[in-house]
């Protein structure tokens, strides 16, 4: 039970006479509407005749449908570290990790599903990814007939990469995962030239 002392009662303030008429508010609102109408009548700046016309997107920044990148050998670049699903505020990424079939890598995603309907396209997954495997693409016209169809699985996400790779190449194409453990090759290390000297080899675990 909440004690009486903890309850704060708030009364709605009384409306003044002018507020009760509502007219001044309507006039205020109409002013804004008419201003925009006038501007648009003089020169049409804002309307894009979609789908005949398409907006120019900033390809590097636009946050549309996700894609799972492939490395230079065409394998999925993801190492199934769950950083994206941990960072995701909408909990729309579902990963199942498995031991990778390739010798230079510890884990790979056996399953990787993104619920595009749940996603809020914030781009946190892209920020969190340590191997630049997940990226948001400029593709915005995602449609589906069913809710299930809007859950993109690993193959579909890789297909998005194939479609958009030409338009927006992968950020660091040579990064092929966190090898280190379990392999003799050191191909995983981010080449020094791509990291500012102060941060080379730093990255506290």
């Amino acid at each position: 039970m909440i004690s009486e002392a903890d309850i704060i009662r708030i009364d709605q303030p009384e409306l003044t006479a002018s507020e009760r008429m509502y007219l001044p508010q309507i006039v205020d609102g109409m002013k804004t509407t008419l201003r925009h109408l006038g501007k648009n009548l003089l020169k049409n700046t804002f309307t894009v005749q979609y789908p005949e016309q398409k907006r120019d997107l900033r390809l590097q920044n636009y946050r549309g449908v996700h894609r799972l990148n492939r490395d230079e050998q065409g394998r999925v670049a993801c190492v199934a570290c769950y950083m994206c699903s941990t960072a995701c505020p909408a909990h729309c990424i579902h990963i199942e990790a498995a031991e990778s079939p390739w010798p230079d890598r510890e884990k790979y995603p056996a399953k990787f599903d993104i619920d595009e309907l749940r996603c809020i396209y914030c781009g946190m997954c892209e920020e969190a990814c340590p191997v630049d495997a997940i990226e948001l693409t400029p593709q915005f016209d995602l449609v589906g007939r069913t809710r299930e169809g809007m859950i993109l699985d690993k193959e579909e996400l890789l297909a998005v990469f194939d479609q958009t790779a030409a338009m927006k190449p992968r950020k660091n194409p040579h990064v092929t995962g966190y090898a280190g453990t379990g392999s003799r090759s050191c191909s995983c290390e981010i080449p020094i030239s791509h990291v500012p000297p102060s941060a080379a080899g730093a990255s506290a675990p």
């Binding site: 280190g180 453990t181 102060s198 080899g201 506290a204």
Partner: protein, 540 residues
């Protein structure tokens, strides 16, 4: 009790413990890898170094020691003055951390230990943000050292906790160090894999992601798991454990420190013995038979149905014809609720103790140890609560029989109604018991898995695994320990405590504590259950 001063703060500590232990107990987070309170001290990681006030040999004047001393190897003395909060100590810690990370692959995103890794935590807290290493790191592939454990050698910090564990606790000496200097490795001897019954503990005490459990490998990231304190039901030892679960699925069990029972350890049998919880063959909903008709009533109707059927039976056949078999897998509270209900319906009823599973012999560790040298025990009695149920039966009084007597008397037709509780993780109904099912006109079966007795049962109630219940177990030493529920029962099953509570006609929701309060009137021992002290994150 000696008093020592750590960073100008006076603390009281136990006699003879190292300064590090005293500091940890006082709540300080002092970095350390090689020190573990349950193992011998080697002082090899050099991370817990401290400054100590010492008399100058010439002037006898007290001043800070010229060299840093390992706090894990320095026992406390009354009036000792030490400090960790100085520039020299911090410098030493940062340099040590830099060395630990020289060959470390920094593969935290794909390492299962990430999130509970001391190397990670200490790097953030005590280490430097960057490494000055310019050479190629040594790469050392992972090794399969046993049926349940993997060794990722290049993540290792050479604390040798695992080697000391197999030497001092399990006494099986499988692990050793090979090579020297920066090429030192942990390894097993050829043809002798790490497969002792306690080997899972080396994964727990490994402060980094070097030793990993194959069973849990890649299953989940540890920060997604929720830990619930519980008691292991594997044997009568009653080890304190933590259930790590997510989305109503148990992923692993970890030991919890309990100075009175298991210290820091648990056995593999208990550790991997939870798999039956997610078995598809579990009974998932209540069943009621009337003639040839089988119904699945809702839980709201169950108390009324059970009470009505039993009362009707007592009216027709008499109270002495009723018997109840309590299982040693029941919590004390559940056993008490059932005994109370059966005695209320039929005061002259017979109460029996279910079969107590015994397997092999008691195992003592280190292997071959006797008496005080024993550090860990696995008992042959493979049930958690024989003593608790016995206490309840004793308090209930009246006609109490063993399971053998019960089988014999039911064969003679002494009982026409019985309430049999199973809840055994392994199949427990043998031929004799299965035959016995036909002797009863009214059989109420409360069990985990579908079995032969079910064919003759008039009412079947699904039992829950211990992770889904709450209550208390009494271990072999007579210690009453409570456990909490971690996950929800599958499908429409309900936790045993809740429906027994409703059947017994008690008001409100079932909680172990609420029932223990009532039990304490007849059994004062249950007024307070023992709870192991909680330890801070890096306590060991």
């Amino acid at each position: 009790m000696p008093k020592i001063t750590i960073d100008n703060q006076e603390i009281e500590c136990c006699n003879g413990v190292p300064v590090l232990q005293a500091a940890l107990e006082a709540g300080r987070d002092i970095p350390h890898y090689c020190y573990h309170p349950g193992l011998s001290v080697v002082a090899s990681c050099r991370l817990c170094l401290m400054e100590m006030m010492m008399p100058n040999p010439k002037t006898q004047e007290l001043q800070w020691s010229p060299k840093l001393v390992p706090s894990c190897q320095t026992p406390v003395r009354d009036g000792m003055v030490v400090r960790f909060d100085s520039e020299r100590v911090r410098q030493s810690q940062a340099t040590c951390m830099e060395f630990f990370l020289l060959n470390h692959p920094l593969d935290c995103p794909v390492c299962d230990q990430a999130g509970e890794c001391h190397l990670q935590d200490y790097s953030f807290k005590f280490g430097k943000p960057e490494s000055r290493m310019v050479d190629q790191k040594l790469v050392n592939p992972k090794k399969d050292i046993g049926p349940n454990t993997l060794l990722y050698q290049d993540r290792c910090v050479m604390c040798t906790r695992c080697v000391r564990f197999t030497d001092e606790i399990s006494g099986t000496h499988e692990l050793c160090m090979v090579n020297r200097g920066s090429r030192t490795e942990i390894d097993v001897f050829p043809g002798r894999p790490l497969d002792n019954p306690l080997q899972g503990n080396v994964v727990d005490i490994c402060p980094v992601g070097s030793l990993l459990d194959k069973d849990f490998l890649f299953k989940r990231r540890v920060w997604e798991l929720k830990g619930t304190p519980s008691i292991c039901p594997g044997c009568a030892t009653g080890c304190a454990i933590r259930i790590d679960h997510a989305n109503d699925k148990v992923y692993r069990l970890k030991p919890r420190f309990n100075p009175k029972v298991n210290q820091w350890w648990m056995c593999d049998e208990g550790r991997f013995g939870f798999k039956y919880v997610h078995n598809k063959k579990r009974i998932r909903s209540p069943l009621v038979r009337r003639g040839y008709e089988t119904l699945t009533p809702s839980w709201e109707d169950i108390p009324e149905i059970v009470r009505f059927r039993l009362e009707e039976h007592v009216r027709e056949k008499g109270a002495a014809k009723v018997a109840a078999v309590l299982s040693p897998f029941m919590a004390c509270e559940e056993a008490w609720l059932l005994a109370r209900f059966v005695r209320e319906i039929a005061p002259q009823s017979v109460l029996a103790m279910g079969p107590v599973p015994m397997e092999g012999e008691d195992q003592f560790f280190p292997v071959g140890a006797k008496g005080d040298a024993v550090r860990f025990t696995i008992l042959k009695e493979k049930c958690p609560n024989r003593r608790g149920v016995e206490m309840v039966l004793h308090a209930a009084g009246g006609d109490i029989v063993t399971f053998e007597q019960f089988t014999e008397r039911s064969g003679k037709g002494d009982f026409s109604a019985a309430w049999i509780v199973g809840g055994y993780p392994k199949p427990w109904v043998d031929k004799n018991t299965a035959k016995m099912g036909a002797n009863f006109e009214l059989l109420v079966l409360q069990d985990l898995f579908v079995n032969e007795l079910m064919a003759g049962a008039a009412i079947v109630l699904p039992s829950c695994a211990w992770v889904e219940r709450e209550g208390s177990f009494v271990n072999a030493a007579g210690l009453i320990q409570s456990f909490e529920r971690a996950i929800d029962p599958p499908d429409t099953a309900r936790r045993d405590g809740q429906y027994l509570y409703e059947i017994a006609g008690l008001p409100g929701l079932y909680t172990g504590e609420r029932v223990r309060e009532r039990m304490a009137e007849a059994l004062p021992a249950f007024a307070k259950a023992y709870a192991a002290p909680e330890l801070p994150v890096h306590a060991h």
